[in-house]
């Protein structure tokens, strides 16, 4: 700053123009600094997390901008399933979530948490079939079985998750398989069906192992994606997806030249 320079003459007071420019520069500087720190913090706390949202929640990215954090859904929940993220929970602050191992979603038929949402972050149409609320089409996540720690996969009889499932016989089924080790028993393996599972977490709550062997993950995390290039050829419906498939061209060192060129090149000779 000019005023700090040693000057022989008596210090000149800053002109209004200089003061204004200095003031503006200072404000812009502070705003930029603050803005970057603020943005970085917001980016960090809203980074995609393994977070289970109430039924009817719209996609996480839209949820974060639409949820006003009023807690109406939390108040509406009769089972105290839903929580509002507090400072220290390491979740996007003030947004609703639930931890199924502690309290799962009991899938109330009247879904009290959804219609109270003032902003549409919990979307009523997404849990409505034929004009009626339908909790069975909710999608809070997907149950995943860890076959290593699930005792049913060891051959020990347990169907706790199967029994706990509110969509009994559809979201989880039991698959029988001969136990070759004993030769006279059966494995009764729980199999989760992604099309029926709502991610309510009753199975995770019921699981008897120390740390649940069946647990809910956000569908986005739990599932892979085959893409449009792999089609169930035996399924007419599935073939429609081919229409979306575009062309992917992969170029490698070998494929850069055409096949005939390749064969007639010195390349093969080099190999021998």
């Amino acid at each position: 700053m000019s005023e700090n320079r040693p000057e022989k003459k008596k210090k000149q007071p800053l002109s209004d123009r200089r003061k204004f420019i200095l003031g503006m520069a200072r404000s812009v500087g502070i705003a930029t600094l603050g803005g970057f720190v603020w943005s970085a913090y917001v980016d960090e706390v809203t980074a995609s997390q393994l977070l289970l949202r109430p039924p009817g929640a719209i996609e996480e990215e839209d949820f974060l901008k639409t949820c006003i954090k009023c807690g109406m859904c939390v108040e509406a929940c009769p089972y105290d399933t839903l929580l509002l993220a507090k400072p220290g929970d390491h979740k996007p602050l003030g947004t609703p979530y639930f931890v199924p191992r502690e309290i799962p979603c009991y899938m109330c038929p009247d879904i009290p948490c959804v219609p109270v949402c003032p902003t549409g972050a919990l979307d009523e149409p997404s849990v409505t079939t034929d004009g009626k609320l339908d909790i069975n089409i909710a999608d809070m996540g997907l149950a995943v079985v860890d076959e290593e720690s699930c005792i049913a996969f060891w051959g020990i009889q347990c169907d706790a998750c199967y029994r706990a499932c509110p969509i009994l016989g559809q979201a989880i089924t039991i698959e029988y398989q001969k136990n070759e080790r004993t030769g006279k028993h059966a494995y009764m393996k729980p199999i989760v069906h992604a099309d029926a599972c709502t991610g309510c977490g009753m199975c995770e709550r019921a699981c008897v192992t120390e740390k649940p062997a069946i647990f809910i993950l956000p569908r986005e995390t739990a599932m892979g994606k085959a893409g449009d290039y792999y089609i169930k050829g035996w399924d007419k419906e599935d073939e429609k997806r081919l229409e979306n498939a575009g062309e992917i061209k992969t170029t490698t060192d070998l494929s850069r030249q055409s096949a005939s060129d390749k064969l007639n090149s010195d390349f093969l000779e080099d190999l021998y």
Binding site: W38, S39, V42, K65, I68, K69, P87, G94
Partner: protein, 276 residues
Amino acid sequence: MKTLWNNYRYLILRRFTQIGILVLYFGANAWGWTILMGNLSSSLLFNMIPMSDPYAALQMLAAGAVMATDLLIGVAVVSLFYLLIGGRAFCSWVCPVNMITDLANFLRAKIGLNQVQGIKQPASRKLRYWVLALSLIISAFMGVTAFEFISPISMVHRGLVFGLGFGWAAMLIIFLFDLFVLKNGWCGHICPLGGFYSLLGKFSLIRVHHNEENCTLCMKCKVVCPENQVLHMIGKESLPVLSGECTNCARCIEVCDDDALGFSIKSLIKNKTTGE
């Protein structure tokens, strides 16, 4: 007793509304009361009237969220309410942070920090408008409601209703900041919600009115006012306080022994020409 009431009547009423609103919210969450549900971000009055924070809605708009009808009605209700009774009436009559900063300010005066640090404030009160603008810019760029994720106001009211977590740290930071760093630091300089309501409050009808003829220039009002730049007319002109930054907390009215200050309703036609 009579003088006590006279000197603190508005303060007592403000604490009553501030705490009362929190109690109603708390009761809704804990015991299922239906008088006032939700929290200060968005709530439902008598199970019927939606009320939503217009500043939060503005951030949602900047972030590119789809605005639901209930939300827009709620925003309209709150905006109209504060347009009538004074934008920053929220700050002094509703916001729970006000109780923290008032306590800091009270202690500040008690232990004589104001004399030590002098009258010149090291920061501009315009800062809040910068923070306000910044919050909208960040909301737009990041696609989230930027201030809502760091708002100590939300942490406090949400914390008191739904569970505090580390929210006490936010309370402590604001308290210490206001006590030791900057007089009226949070509410009077930084808070973008206060800045937002300042802008909204420019148009509000209920105003503090100064009657210069009664004024004895004791300046008690300026000492007690958390936004004393709005009282520039004291002892000079009979004017209403027109700045939106006035929180309508009415502390100035209480401390005035000479009946030179009082609430009045702004006349819509007159104020444009004479400011009366």
